[in-house]
């Protein structure tokens, strides 16, 4: 979706605030929110691509004005509501509706390290040979899906060179909508700054993005 989250190339967001000796969390609630995201129960089939999509659906004024872990709060709440795991009244009150059966399948504390070490493997076998070779010129297709995608706007329609081939990876565009992993070959494509930003950009500098095969066409 062409959302406010797709920020590459925008102006006007102000200076970067680099905090010296930054703490891991700035308030206890941030730590609790992180723990709920990593240790809380999510609907069946939920995955990180869906998590990213729920976050990018946060209304733009809230996306830009609320802090990072507040995004997580908003995304978890929307997920609970959409799946029927909680009601609006429960979210507002902080208490379960009377008569609700308590589940007993939450992640136990001793499973966290295992989840950290073994989670998040996205490489998958793809039977078809890669369509593109390292060194080949490719164009990022000009696609504008209203659902989730990971092809940023600033590379669409631009020509680059395949720099790396990562094998098959789960396709976020389908996975985020619980329509299957549909793995495809994944490539890193390098673009010149002039291709991306025009003749006044640096002639030397480059930017790369990781792009799935269906995002690309031969150039």
């Amino acid at each position: 979706m062409n959302g406010v989250h797709d920020m590459g190339g925008m102006h006007g967001h102000g200076p970067i605030e680099h905090e010296k000796d930054e703490p891991v969390f700035h308030a206890p609630w941030e730590a609790r929110m992180l723990g709920m995201r990593r240790g809380g129960t999510f609907p069946s089939g939920f995955n990180i691509d869906r998590w990213r999509h729920v976050r990018e659906l946060i209304p733009p004024h809230l996306y830009l004005s609320r802090s990072y872990y507040d995004h997580w709060y908003m995304a978890y709440v929307a997920t609970l509501l959409q799946s029927g795991m909680a009601t609006r009244e429960e979210i507002k009150s902080g208490h379960a509706a009377s008569g609700t059966a308590k589940r007993n399948d939450a992640m136990p504390p001793d499973q966290t390290w295992k989840a950290q070490k073994t989670g998040g493997i996205f490489a998958r076998q793809v039977e078809t040979p890669p369509r593109f070779a390292i060194g080949q010129c490719v164009r990022a297709r000009n696609i504008n899906p209203s659902g989730h995608t990971r092809v940023p706007r600033y590379v669409r329609g631009k020509v680059g060179v395949v720099q790396l081939h990562h094998g098959g990876h789960i396709l976020p565009d389908t996975n985020a909508h619980l329509q299957g992993e549909a793995p495809q070959h994944l490539y890193t494509v390098v673009f010149s700054m002039r291709e991306l930003w025009g003749p006044e950009a640096s002639a030397r500098d480059e930017a790369c993005a990781d792009l799935w095969e269906s995002y690309l066409e031969p150039a």
Binding site: W29, L34, E56, L62, A96, Y154, L196, S202
Partner: protein, 214 residues
Amino acid sequence: MNQHKHAHDDSADIAHHHSIHAELPSDPALRVKALESLLTEKGLVDPATIDAWVETYESKIGPRNGAKVVAKAWVDSDFKRRLLTDATKAIGELDMLGAQGQHMVVLENTPDIHNLVVCTLCSCYPLPVLGLPPVWYKSAPYRSRAVIDPRGVLKEFGLELPEHVKIRVWDSTAEVRYLVLPERPAGTEGMNEEQLAALVTRDSMIGVGKVSAR
């Protein structure tokens, strides 16, 4: 391209549920506390599991891991070669893979090329080797400008690179995670691996800083 035509179907539904935020208190501490109470009552989270995750990111995982990788590469040329050709395997040798860092690529900074890592779309970051990302990395100013004005961004971090150095920005748009291997500073010839690791900063492994001999 069927996979690009699908379902906005559930997108509208999810967006609708975000409308609840107008009806909730503005203080996130209150809302998050209420959410933890609710999830605990429903058996959807164990508060002790939240504690365990917090401890994981506060004390078990952080940029000291990445610093060890960098220092080892500086003193062990075989390891460096393995790291640059198959970072996932080499970092796996050190048991430093994990969620948000299972598919690794290491980018070597040299006198001619300076690598800089960003995630323009969200906050992708190599957690097992660098820990949780700093606020600025997840913020709009960095995400928006790193890909269009990397030299301007680096200047804000106090790093001015000569014109002949090529800057290559890596936008983490997939599940590949990037770690920068900074240049080993001059004046560190007599140092051992542990002393070198102590010099390596988080910022240098994102590419917004260099390592100095101190």
